[in-house]
Symmetry: C2
Subunit: 391 residues, 2 copies
């Protein structure tokens, strides 16, 4: 059973109202009449609409966030019931799927209503975004709305979503606590001689038992003395003594993600792997020591890189040492040179130093934290300082 | 434990080669030099690359499928290890994330190599597709490749992916069998007086125990005498006697989805709900009777609609009575008027008749099948002819 009481699901209306006000201020400063949002997290962030149904690629969903008015949801009829439980009043539906006009006419009409003052529609089109509607429909939309400008709204959604409210942090703290419980229980459940795929299933069950809603992300690999791939799906090969296993999970509670990993060794770990574990562990400590409002993500990277280099790292292939976390497994910013995002209280990030050692083996650590006025609050329970041995 | 032996993971190289040959024939007929694919299922279909890592929105992944050559994967460095286990030889990486040039230069270079003969790149841009890369990068790509035409490749990927190989069908049969086991076990595990969210966790655990890799999709709702929403996330409210509960799950094995539901009643079901159950059950029978190569999806819809109308259906809000199934929870085609897809042996589809009854209650059934030369093979174990009562 979960060790702590889960926070309430959803958010009070005031949370959405304050998100709207903040977005509208940024839109007005950029002369944008409305945001046009098409992806699940952005739709959910402003509307509160939450459903696994986004996994079906069949139907587009549209949310307009006007600079001077309430949001307008243009959605498939199948979503009307769930949508009626949100704070959004202006909901327009069509009997999707209708391939020859899947909400496009409704969307055009609504954009003509709200994109009046500047004739400018903000669409996230920068790094880490995509437009979740058929590209053909997007081109038709632009053709129909002659005179309307479509500009990049990534900076707006990025700035808002990077800083979490206390209600969001409560969900993140809870899910990270559940996953910490499951990681601590795992050594008592696992054995050598079991197929990798079976260990994945066993760990996913334990995560559920510990209180997560589910674990959409679980990757990992076992290998003699270390692993060479940290985004791997399970094989059906048996884990054997001497293997080092990493599990990295994005588990969710009420739509908010954990994202951290743990390393285990079946039987005694090779000394090379234990040394690498110690290096990434100390790199995480160095990263933690650097976290405070005003520090930059590049400085976090630097703090971790210093320990990794001194510890004999042969490189890394992740491209960064951690990232933002929240409604998605990974969010802006990136802890890497040149990112230079200035940390603010309320940002939730992961620290994820990794290194190559020996003959192409990897060792990656990860912890999740929220930036606080006086430094940080760890959301995960810190990994053990020495690799956990499963006998 | 799973009742049957799981099929092997992955596919032999011959499977990918035959997909390539089929795609190249369709491309040549349309004067397309190469496909440019950006989404997980399309990338996996041609390359065999399989990872949960797509859940992270940070990095774009590109696969080129040239009309006259082998595929080219342009991917973040973090994917190189997993990619090396696939049949794709031409793999080009960059140390993503690199926001100012996230693979775009590599992609331009590769497109200049392969889009030579007709100067035409096929990108899926029709119904049920989207382009998974920043829209700004797509626009920059078009600007750099002046003279290159970007045309819709939806008909190509649709035609190929709709008809499954026996190796694909083996995975689908296995996962549908596991989910059938879990649905049959569920009544012995559930009780009234338990929060909805707890029933979701319990059912997800049972699905794992029955052999699925995981269950990215699980929606459902309980309500007195019926439910009003079939894409709902769980609440923390307790299920009580008299509630009708629907679970609809997309569970996966080796990247292939089940998609079907089951209806349960806690204690005795209201007669209205039992009648509606009988109607959708018989509608499914009518749909099954209509399945054969040469029949159209519109005819399937008609067969089911006839029973629903005669049974007093007050409408439906799903927009169709079933759809394609495979690497995604829902795929082309749709069982609905005007779709008119001609069924072929090897197509895997769901039949999903639904109806509104009483005061806005819904009743939805779903079964999964593969079209066979002599009719169909059911992949799910048929639901009970009367609603299962949980005492």
């Amino acid at each position: 059973m979960p060790a702590t009481i889960p926070p309430p699901r959803g958010f009070p209306v005031a949370e959405f109202e304050s998100r709207m006000v903040a977005a509208q201020r940024l839109m007005q400063a950029r002369s944008i009449d409305t945001l046009l949002l098409t992806t699940e997290p952005e739709f959910r962030y402003f509307s509160g609409f939450h459903s696994d149904f986004w996994l079906s690629p069949t139907r587009p969903w549209y949310l307009l966030v006007p600079a001077q008015d309430q949001p307008i949801a243009i959605i498939p009829e199948i979503g009307a019931a769930s949508m009626s439980a949100t704070w959004v009043d202006d909901v327009r539906t069509w009997p999707a799927p209708v391939p020859h006009d899947d909400g496009l006419s409704l969307l055009c009409t609504a954009l003509r209503e709200v994109a009046v003052r500047f004739g400018t529609v903000g669409v996230p089109m920068g790094p880490e975004t995509h437009v979740r509607m058929p590209l053909g429909d997007f081109q038709r939309l632009r053709d129909r709305l002659t005179g309307t400008k479509f500009v990049d709204a990534t900076p707006i959604v990025r700035a808002l979503r990077m800083v979490k409210s206390e209600a969001e942090i409560d969900k993140l703290r809870y899910v990270c606590g559940c996953v910490s419980d499951a990681f601590e229980a795992f050594p008592n459940l696992a054995n050598a001689g079991v197929p990798e795929s079976e260990l994945f299933r066993l760990f996913r069950s334990e995560l559920l038992r510990c209180g997560v809603d589910h674990s959409p992300y679980l990757v990992g690999a076992a290998g003699a003395g270390g692993y060479a791939d940290i985004i791997k799906q399970p094989s059906d090969a048996e884990v054997v003594k001497g293997d080092v296993l990493v599990f990295d999970t994005g588990s969710v509670f009420d739509g908010y993600f954990s994202d951290f990993d743990r390393n285990f060794c079946f039987g005694e770990a090779a000394s090379e792997a234990r040394r690498a574990y110690d290096v990434v562990y100390r790199a995480t400590d160095a990263g933690l020591a650097a976290v405070r409002p005003g520090a930059t993500t590049s400085e976090l990277w630097q703090a971790m890189a210093g320990v990794l280099d001194a510890g004999g790292s042969l490189g890394e292939d992740v491209g960064r040492f951690g990232h933002g976390l929240g409604m998605q497994l990974t969010e802006w910013p990136s802890n890497m040179p040149g990112d230079d995002t200035v940390l603010q209280a309320g940002m939730v990030i992961t620290l994820e130093p990794g290194m190559v050692f020996g003959a192409g083996k990897l060792m990656v650590h990860e912890e999740d934290l929220v930036v606080r006025e006086d430094g940080y609050e760890l959301l995960t329970r810190r990994a053990a300082p020495e690799m956990v041995v499963i006998d």
